[in-house]
Subunit: 749 residues, 2 copies
Amino acid sequence: MEGLPITDADEKLTGAARYPADVDLPGMRHARVVLSPLAAANITDIDTAAAAALDGVVAVLTAADLPTAGRPATDRNSAILATDRVVWHGQPVAVVVAETATAAADAVGLVHVDYEPTPPVVDLDDAASPNSPLVWSHGVDRGAGASADVHAGGAAGGGVEEQSGGNVAVTKRYVSGDLAAGLEAADEIVELELRTQTVHQGYLEPHTVVATVDPLDGTLIVYTSTQGLFGTRDSVARLLGLEREYVKVIPMTVGGGFGARYGIFEPLAGAIALAIEGPVQLSLTRSEDFVASTPAPATIARVTAGGTRDGRLTALVADILTESGAFSGGLAGIVGTLFGSVYRCDAVDVTVREVLTNKSMVGAYRAPGAPQAAYALECTIDELCRALDVDPLQFRIGVAKETGDPMVDDRTWPNIGLTNVLAEAAAHPLWKNRGDAAPGRGVGAAVGGWPGGTAPAAAVCRADSDGVFYLHVGSVDITGTNTALQLIASEVIGIPADDIRVVNGDSTVAPQSGPSGGSMITYTVGNAVRDAAEGARAQILEIAADMLEAAPDDLEIENGAVRVKGAPGSEVAVGKIAAQGSRFGGKYAPITAHGRSAITNQAPVFTVQLVEVEVDRETGQLAVLRDVVIQDVGRALNPPLVAGQIHGGAVQGLGWAMQEELVFDESGTAVTASFSGYLLPEATQVPAIEAVLVESNPSPIGPLGARGVGEPPIVAGPAAVANAVRDAIGARVERLPLTPERVWAAAHR
Amino acid sequence: MEGLPITDADEKLTGAARYPADVDLPGMRHARVVLSPLAAANITDIDTAAAAALDGVVAVLTAADLPTAGRPATDRNSAILATDRVVWHGQPVAVVVAETATAAADAVGLVHVDYEPTPPVVDLDDAASPNSPLVWSHGVDRGAGASADVHAGGAAGGGVEEQSGGNVAVTKRYVSGDLAAGLEAADEIVELELRTQTVHQGYLEPHTVVATVDPLDGTLIVYTSTQGLFGTRDSVARLLGLEREYVKVIPMTVGGGFGARYGIFEPLAGAIALAIEGPVQLSLTRSEDFVASTPAPATIARVTAGGTRDGRLTALVADILTESGAFSGGLAGIVGTLFGSVYRCDAVDVTVREVLTNKSMVGAYRAPGAPQAAYALECTIDELCRALDVDPLQFRIGVAKETGDPMVDDRTWPNIGLTNVLAEAAAHPLWKNRGDAAPGRGVGAAVGGWPGGTAPAAAVCRADSDGVFYLHVGSVDITGTNTALQLIASEVIGIPADDIRVVNGDSTVAPQSGPSGGSMITYTVGNAVRDAAEGARAQILEIAADMLEAAPDDLEIENGAVRVKGAPGSEVAVGKIAAQGSRFGGKYAPITAHGRSAITNQAPVFTVQLVEVEVDRETGQLAVLRDVVIQDVGRALNPPLVAGQIHGGAVQGLGWAMQEELVFDESGTAVTASFSGYLLPEATQVPAIEAVLVESNPSPIGPLGARGVGEPPIVAGPAAVANAVRDAIGARVERLPLTPERVWAAAHR
């Protein structure tokens, strides 16, 4: 399929795109948040007098002053104000509202909060122990709206839920087969303790939200760069006690989402607007954003695996801790499922515990939980193959699950193409020639999987009198999905993609859609668009049949014209048919058709990443020389865009592998909360990414065979780099990121 | 059916409604128009230097400076700038653009235009004569987009088009039967020369338009209080040479439409925005608006009619001139059709000539052409009945056309209820007791008809997860049509009207609709809404059937809940079903359904008005004591609103009858171009209007039986008042308005 430039390229390249920071409403006030400098403390007093007295300050608000007063601050991913206690460094405590942004910034420093520190829970292993101090003395609230669920479309369930306690919010266990027999049958057994770090989404746009109140009917109007209109709208309504029809979320251009834009500060901004009865712009600085937002969780996986030289995986045992920060985050299920379901294994025993600490509440980050699961699993498989002395890709091909195979959570895999991408990878020159690698270089492979999300969706396809077709959808375009929707409608109707425009509405006018996350927009909204386009096509043919005096079945649409099959010359332009719908007294109805989708079968995507690295043994410095991402895309609707998604995801995976880390000191203070401390990959660190789009296994459900492509390319990256370093230095670094210190230490161990 | 308060009542009562005058875009300039003070002149020079030099003036633009340069100024109803010639008093000649409205106003007076006057064509009879000077020396341009057609949905056609020439733009002739025999058979023959005046729509909001250009893709965005998004958008695109997809019309609250808001100043405002490459607000003062806008045409009807005492109408001959101002207006057909088609008559010979003069371009005004036709016809019938000494209503009942009878233009009447309303009127106490009228009082009756418009329409009905249903339509709500649409969907789906909201989009996002004119929104968009609501209902039942484990046919919806028929207790709320459509991984699709309508059968409406007047013989002063409007509404969807439409239309009819007139002096200067000169009825002049809603003949096509109700109540008013005055003073005033001078003169003749 031919590609189409993404529709919002121009506005982004020229700076014309409008973010919430660009919104300037008449009478708009500026709000800044006072954040806790401590990870765990009781609040004994908040003195707002000095701040309130500052020139230009309109209000200094604490929890009691907002419509959220009385609500427990355990509603994860929504930053409402703390009341008598703070549980992480960066938790919002008060809000300053001023006439200017400068006055608000000045006033933040004048709010005096008296804290009574309590022992913080910082170390993940310690937190999981029964003797640890508690993050929540009254017991753990499981929270609502977990964002991993949002991403995976409910696929994060399954497994057996076991008793939890202390700081352990959730315990999930997945057991199958005879473990003792599995270990017994193994030719080799490996044991690893693999750690991943806290990673931030690293988007360029710090969170900014504008909220205002319609003076007439009280509707709260929220301008925000959100990944999901409806979910954000629902969060705001729920937290502020409003009817959903009186909350209107107007989506703005998203300056990087990656899972962190499901609604963090929107309820707080809305609460301020209600409190001051007027428009307000709430904005965060870069450093504030780092500590007050929702990074991806750290994990510790203690894994034992056994296999045989003839290619059987006989045992897979894991005890995995996922760090959830101050609130329960819902990631345990997806980590356990993805760890335990990729390969056929005689016996599996996986336990995942979600553990609270006094750190930032965690959120979704591109394929939430999957890179951590893949890092644990793929490093283990790599070590096992080394121990068995077998080809790691051939071993994986031998044990790879296929369509219909059971998953560890007792569901079965829907249509998957894992063996397709493994076969492509095994045949790739980088892999085949890996033995020729120069000294200091190494090649690693890893598999990454993402189940794909689903949510019901609707769309409307409507033709205007000039022959332009409009697709109305409720999705937000953060990854070029609008162009995919255009291409779907173009192919279905038979008109050029240029004649199609996508209309993304606000939460009041848009057709229903899940959020732009979980790689599901093309898959779900795309299906609704396909149905709407098919409806429009049928309407066009019906009118054309009347105009051309032929049966609809005898007609075809090509290049924007309807013609009688096999009767050249007899044709009428689709635009002319569309124009009929606006004629006064006209006898043809306007072209307007709905499409609806409620897919419950997911379309999982597997990726193999092949990475070549070079390690400087003197310094431990790591350079990634090649990164090949081989992905089962089902069908690439817009190949350049799919490649673009792969490039972006792969780079994020490299950052995760090499250097990104939100570091907390022993007091729970985040010490890398800036782009000078939190190191995103620089252009010079990133090789040309080679994206291999595998289309040999189209989705039986996705529109025109497409699968969601956004999340998968990040998943295998950290493991692939780690395996390449293992290959290069002959030793394993069991911890991310692969800093020069750690690599050097392992190389010289 | 129970009524519902109109949805925009609150915003109008509280002043929160937003008109184009309320739009204030960053960097917006203010434009004022320089209007011709002469009715006919050549422009020899325009000196803009003094105006341009004024502080704050940004630009002074003449025709050559705009994208419309080179276009002939014959495009009626769109005020682009004159080039070398002006053809009416009030024609725009130049535009001043300034930083402030004040500077723009000051600069208007500094633009010096040199005019070379030519003999103006002012008198309608003179203009029609072959010897008259010509309004257009190069010949008459028939123009485009005639607004009467817009109103009547193409019903203004028919008849035989005859040769025209000179200032006569259009000649239509309608002939049937043997005229000589018809006149011969008559017991009495009457001859009248009946004149109507130029009437202005008298809306409260002077025309104001804001236009701006999207800096990114060049889309011209127009904020305007329009009756029709799409027509206005198309006019702007056509005149400015833009693709329609790059013109976006955003409809604002309409401060009175009545036919005058189909796009007069939008192309000019758009041209200015393109010329200055930024936002501009073009506004007119009240007096400017009076001369630069589009009043309803004056007419002269010379009628001869014959009838018999036993109730036959034997001959109807008319020569009717309709004054069209400087451009052809397309009213000839509708006047001839409505004059000749109401009553069965042995022989008809009606000629209508549309004649140009050097006056304002005429436009649509509530039932365009119909009050003039009714005035000519109904005064004639009244005089004939007086001559025959028969009851005027009984005579009309005897000759009234019925469903399926031929119209004078060779079509046949679709379903009509003329005899229903005549029978109601004949039985009304005011009519039955009219013999008891006190001295100086009189009672008059008249019939008014309106064919009703049609245009294709589409609608989308969508449920949000909170159970609120949204109706997406492209119509503009100027008369409470949104509430009618709510009520239609409420009845179809089976949910309270409060759970339904109407979304009126802009020209980019709205489903197709004809303009809010011609009394067609409820009839056409209402039908699309009904279909969309039926689709939504079927989707609800399908999901409910699955949830309740029953067949859809066994279910019913009542009061917002679905239940199994005859199985009390087993029910599920519609809102809960709607909520399924937003569940992650959910198996039910969102409720989203389209509806489409392409009605070509009109639903004509007839009204009888009974008016009682009192005339002061000493002064000729006229007082209307009672005004009964008996209207075939098909079915009143929202009775208080239908009554409201009748009240408004009746009052406008009274103004037309008694005092409103845009008076031109012999030079063609409009001399009553202000509300102190142009007299709208005051509250003290208007009696309590009695609206009688006749529902005995529901429309077989309109939603739930409804007919369009907006235009008809104005139609019969002027004739009914004239006939009442005739009754009161024993003499006929053959000219509107019925000023004290004319009434006194007739009474003392």
